[in-house]
Symmetry: C2
Subunit: 329 residues, 2 copies
């Protein structure tokens, strides 16, 4: 398939749990994809090695050599410097508290340009330009997973603020409420983030609540309560799991409703590990839970349509944009 | 002062309590100002008559005839159609539930162009272009008064969404919390809006709480608890007033903090009847109450600097903009 040479782009979604890599054609059609678990020990170099391996696997499936790619985009957690491609403060990644020159290291090894953006912003851009947000000019992306991330597109352009915009997970839905993993109180993420929900489930189990959540976790040999474990538990009628997911949906309705009252966007697109796993019926439930809070007109509420690969496909757009900038510069 | 003829503009802030009119020069300097109470009975025609009277008083002080003004801008509550200048659903104004052609009626009587915008957006634009927001490119305006209104400027442009953006008063700060005058639960305005605070004070007094709030109201012959009555009560050490104002400041910290986490603006400008009356020390307190919730960097928090006339001065900018559009159109 040498047709892909010189026109294909790479995209990597660097998550706390997995690394997803894709190769796409000029129309963002996926030509090859691969996935690796994110290392939980070691440091940035080990993470980079797995990113390289995932991208090379995807390139092989697409029949293209990494050096022939127009460029590679990366969606990364933590603080991203979009100019240099350095990533700092990525606390979900092993030993990545400091700054690491991610773009430079990947670029040297892949022998093509590498462009790094914030993971949530990249996923929002993907859904806006290629996915469920395509019919709209203003979109709020909500990524319901380990945390609750948000991305904002206004009048066709991403709004980044001073670089940190979109932190919908730290909307206060309950004054002086539950402690959030971020250390603050009453944040949406304290009720709806998977990490907070796991901590809450563990605490309630220790206090005597009945649940099969942790049995399922062991049975499937997972280090934590993944989205599929939550989904399986709810499907099996596990009371604690149902209660915590209901609470999350209730909090999401308030938090997203508040954001809509402020921004008055045309559409909300819901993705993330839990969002995609629980799917359409829960997206509809979140839309219902928003209604009692929405003061402006209710926007359309859609499920993210690019699926698990959305982050990587969105990241690949960075390479396209960067290339265009270069060509005209 | 015939110098003002042909270059001066008019601005009217139509509030639920008072009508403020100004005449400004091309640099937005106030040449004349007048104020009238908003009629509490009658209908839109009576309100229009008072608006005309206030504008004519201001024009007389400025030494200019209304027909010589470049145009007149109006900041109005309710739903504004910026194209036609019709105002509907202005529930704080007498018998104004339906739609009324405000711009057309005023224009006919004043014999100059009249341009109508949303009161909060007009006040935000005034602070952004002429007041405390001037040094910044992205600003969140928060107007703490009868309700809690918000206006958003991003990258130098007002963000209106589908027309209703900025409803920060209906941010949910307490899931399933106190009933808001809007009928919803847990809104910021249910804790910090002057109307909600008055209802709360009355309820607590009826339950036996001690307070001089209503005595002060009668003494000053006011139909409701105005900002100056709240301020006087707090200054006198009235426990209930202090408790409710503290609660409002606490809720404002959470609601504004949430908005900042989403928008990551450079600055927050705080105005409105209570904001201006309680002034700098309370703006500083609100900034402190934001800090425990702000996930991004804390923005600058400033008091609105155009004062009581800010709404009218901001409204006068509408005439400037509209004129420019016409000239180039």
């Amino acid at each position: 398939m040498p047709a892909a040479s010189g026109t294909a782009r790479g995209g990597i979604d660097l998550g706390g749990t997995k690394i997803e890599a894709v190769i796409v054609d000029p129309r963002s059609k996926v030509l090859g994809a691969a996935r690796r678990p994110t290392p939980t020990t070691g440091g940035p170099r080990d993470v980079v090695n797995e990113m390289l391996a995932a991208l090379r696997d995807a390139a092989k499936l697409a029949g293209v050599k990494p050096a022939e790619l127009l460029g590679v985009g990366v969606g990364a957690p933590g603080n991203v410097d979009p100019e240099t491609g350095a990533v700092s403060n990525a606390l979900n990644l092993p030993d990545w508290g400091g700054s690491y020159p991610l773009a430079a290291q990947l670029s040297r090894r892949l022998r093509t340009g590498v462009f790094v953006g914030n993971d949530v912003q990249v996923a929002t851009d993907g859904e806006f330009r290629l996915g469920a947000g395509k019919p709209y000019k203003s979109v709020l992306g909500v990524f319901w997973g380990t945390g609750v991330g948000g991305g904002i597109v206004l009048d066709g352009k991403e709004w980044l603020g001073r670089g940190g915009a979109g932190e919908i997970g730290h909307t206060v839905v309950m004054l002086d409420g539950r402690r959030c993993p971020c250390g603050r109180r009453g944040c949406l993420e304290a009720y709806a983030g998977r990490a907070a929900m796991e901590a809450r489930a563990r605490k309630l189990k220790d206090k005597g609540a009945k649940t099969d959540l942790f049995k399922l976790m062991k049975k499937h040999d997972r280090p934590r309560l993944t989205s599929s474990i939550w989904e399986a538990a709810v499907r099996n009628g596990d009371k604690l799991a149902i209660e915590l997911i209901d609470e999350a949906v209730h909090a999401l309705g308030a938090g997203i409703g508040s954001a809509v009252n402020l921004l008055d966007v045309e559409a909300v697109v819901i993705g993330g590990g839990l969002g995609l796993r629980f799917g359409e019926p829960y997206v509809a439930r979140i839309a219902e839970e928003m209604k009692p809070h929405v003061y402006v007109s209710q926007p359309d509420v859609q499920m993210a349509s690019l699926g698990d690969q959305g982050g990587a496909i969105g990241a690949a757009l960075l390479a396209q944009k960067a290339r265009r900038t270069r060509a005209s510069g």
